[in-house]
């Protein structure tokens, strides 16, 4: 693998900000719609890319995604009911199959061809339900991003969900500049060592942006002291890896000073962002660890810690969203600092992909691996050819 490493300017020139009408979404890609366990034989309404959708499972257990809208009078199908193979509208009883085709209109025999609900390609992988909001015929299952750590026997996840009133690009900025941990997350994962250690930023395959940071011989922030059950000084590394539009994996490793990196406690945290609207986002997360796999109490401790940490992010991101909407700056960030190097590369890459899709609506940006597992650390079912 070759990485195009770019020099990091102290004050990168900010790119002109998209106007509020400019498209900011990619459509020809699989995006996370739900945790698999959320979807069953009841109707789950959820909006993606401004589009109201319902999720449920067919009689065979297969996930279904369709527009939350009866074509007759626009009433949401989410007030309807599942009845065997059909969903029945809660207003006049029109019935639709899982392919969206109307199969019954009470009180009449003929069914017009226009009586159909839009459906979306959907599939289940890695304990997640993925949805394809773009051209349906391009929805190839091989294009699902590899986030196998969520259901790999070598890892144990702590999972959760936040809905944030923030443009998903602000969340990406936040995840690619982890220097904010020092100020936003002092109670859990941050201390001064983070902001003081500049990140090394690179772009890989025109598909991934990553920011790597090493912190040597530092005092462990509270969360890591608890994980390692020790206040001893540590070596710590952190890699923020982003694949547009919304797949983030943050690798965090810590080991005691003087010990070998192969002994590190490694977490691979997935932050899976799917736009709800232009100013709000679904944020599915999973902190996956490769140590103390059987320790259910630790799993819960981590879940609560990440929940609190993201609550702190949510507060600052929503305040930022409101300020951006009020001021509508022509460049973003308005004042670029060195820490913005990765966020700005990420925005440039996203913008390029969105532009590509607008110019050619069959363009698809295939995913690339986010990280490689050490030999032996991977269970057979998810082994990737490296």
């Amino acid at each position: 693998m070759t990485a195009q490493t770019e020099p990091v300017a102290a004050h990168v020139e900010a790119a002109p900000e998209e106007s509020s009408d400019e498209p900011i979404w990619l459509r020809n890609c699989w995006q996370v719609a739900a945790f698999a366990a959320e979807v069953g034989r009841s109707i789950l309404p959820r909006m993606f890319l401004g589009q109201p959708v319902i999720l449920y499972r067919g009689v065979g257990g297969e996930p279904v995604a369709m527009e939350d809208r009866c074509p007759h009078r626009l009433v949401p199908l989410s007030i309807g009911t599942l009845d065997g193979p059909v969903i029945r509208c809660g207003y006049h009883g029109l019935e639709f199959g899982t392919d969206g085709k109307c199969v019954r209109i009470p009180g009449q025999d003929g069914i017009p061809a226009t009586a159909r609900v839009r459906t979306f390609p959907v599939l289940e992988r890695y304990s997640l339900i993925w949805i394809w909001m773009g051209e349906p015929q391009l929805a190839n299952p091989t294009l699902v991003p590899d986030v196998h750590w969520l259901d790999d026997a070598a890892w144990v996840p702590s999972t959760g969900y936040h809905r944030m009133e923030a443009d998903y690009r602000l969340i990406t900025d936040n995840l690619l500049d982890l220097s904010h941990e020092t100020y936003v997350h002092q109670k859990t994962i941050g201390n001064e060592s983070v902001a003081d250690s500049p990140a090394h930023v690179s772009v890989e395959h025109e598909r991934i942006v990553r920011a790597d940071r090493e912190m040597h011989n530092i005092v462990p922030p509270p969360y890591f002291a608890r994980i390692m059950a020790s206040e001893d000084r540590i070596d710590r590394w952190q890699s923020a890896i982003y694949m547009p539009p919304g797949i983030h994996m943050t690798e965090a490793g810590v080991h005691k000073v003087g010990t070998d990196r192969s002994k590190a406690y490694v977490g691979r945290v997935l932050h899976l962002l799917t736009p709800q609207t232009k100013t709000s986002s679904h944020y599915f997360w999973a902190m996956n660890r490769n140590y103390r796999l059987e320790d259910a109490e630790l799993t819960e401790f981590i879940r609560v810690a990440v929940q609190h940490t993201l609550d702190e992010d949510q507060n600052v991101l929503e305040l930022q969203m409101r300020a951006v909407l009020k001021e509508r700056p022509t460049h973003f960030p308005p004042l670029a600092i060195r820490a913005d190097s990765a966020p700005m590369r990420a925005r440039r890459l996203l913008r390029k992909l969105v532009k590509g899709e607008i110019e050619n609506n069959t363009a698809v940006a295939a995913p690339t691996p986010l990280a490689h597992d050490p030999p032996g650390a991977l269970s057979p079912k998810h082994r990737i050819s490296q």
Copy 2:
């Protein structure tokens, strides 16, 4: 009486929807402002057709309707006080008679002619207060729609009020397509027999739209089983009768299979709609019955049942309103089915009347009787020459 019966097409072509700026209100007509018992010697503020109004009674008991706005500084008169023959503004004490004329300005002697509050013709009939929002000189008391069942000795009403966040035309659609009872009102008045029995739709005198449905030898829905104190199979009929802009009467009759129709339990339900704004409505209702007149417990049972039934309607109508506002479809309903035949005729008739009033602001659509009472069933004071 001759009725123009039109053939019912399975998939009626939907008419182009009014743009959101197109007028949808009739003004030269009496519309219900309140139940008579709501209006007294205190000030009742209520908005009609986007116009804030106050209702109260003068010293002689006569109902008064005036703009809820002091002409001086626009403060609502509803924060003022009634004092004998005048209403006094709660800000600077200007006083107005029931004709809207200012009779006192504290601190000065002369009163300019422009110091006057707009009033609206208003009258009391059938236990209701009616208001005329159009040209005042056309407000002829003979133009009040006949809804005498509300205070006729041969009938006993159960009454109530809903305010719905829905365009009154959506409520009309709902009342003219009672097939929704099967899906929305399964707990009270609906079962599969309703949606499965097509309605016969007709337009009478270019003034009334009606949809008649007969259901023979059916299982009684829960409400009727309770009313008749029997689970025996019934014959049922249902006539939804609409006179624009907002007068609906739904006649519902049931009798045991094998008995004569003259033995039927008949309810004549009034649904009296007055627009509050373009997207919200006042919904005054009265279920009037011609049986077990002395049974106060039944009156209350019916009141609660109708209340619950309309709560169900309100839920689906408000969801529909939000979807319509978001999508702003160019045709309505977006997919017309056979059950839309009456709603679509009703919209066409309403549109024609509104257009007539815009072209000629003295146009008045005189009311026509909604239904005729059987000989002897009508008390003398409301007898109509038929």
Copy 3:
């Protein structure tokens, strides 16, 4: 001092109302930002003239006002922390001095010149913090309006604060037409004698509008009966004095009929208005009295009475604001009565000053004394040369 007294027409012609886009604020003047006691070593966010600001004190106790916005990513600085001489952003830790200059960016050495927060001239006087929202180089401390009664040993204040959802000009109208006391404040300071006694209106030095009203041999309204501990009839005077944009002083004097005016109980009530937005206002108030100076219970009684009285004003002003926003009248007030004479002169004067500042952004309207203290009534530190 010469006063240009203008004749009062019974029905003054209303001036064309400003369009909603027309500027309504003066900037080159000191406006009240806070009571001095509100500002300390924690961050107080508050909006003035649509501009989010934070207030705090530097390590030397000096008040500081700066934009509530980190220049990096627009996050409010009000979620940051004070640390000695700097304020640190709560997102990425940028640090700024009290002059707004960035002194540290974590993770980098150079600091670009554009890394700076806008500050506003601010000073402390008369127990108040004053802010200058206009051209900073014009912010001469001698231009602070003289409201010395707030911290003068000869007077005792009862103070409080209201935030009102009303254009500050509506509050000015209200304060200059005290005839509303009769209708809005019957429980405290109003009775019929107020509205029945016309005010004498004058404009002084093209800088002040005043309305003087005398009420002879009247029944004391409840508040004054309590103050004087007597129901005996009184002579009362009232002077509403306004200096644009937002300084009001209302002098209220009462003495028993037959006694000398020099024995009067005099209150000088400051109403200090600072626009928050075009439709909302900060309202700092202080009722200062020159009698029973040691009576702490009376101080509290007055505070509660004024609080209640202004709650009543707030209700009617916010209703008026909503009506104005909905109707957007082309003239204001829509119907001018005699009592509007002072409000209308005030609007004309304000409009002239705002226009002057727009035409010449270095124009400054110097303040003029609101009132003179009787010889001997003034403590040395605030003596004004008259």
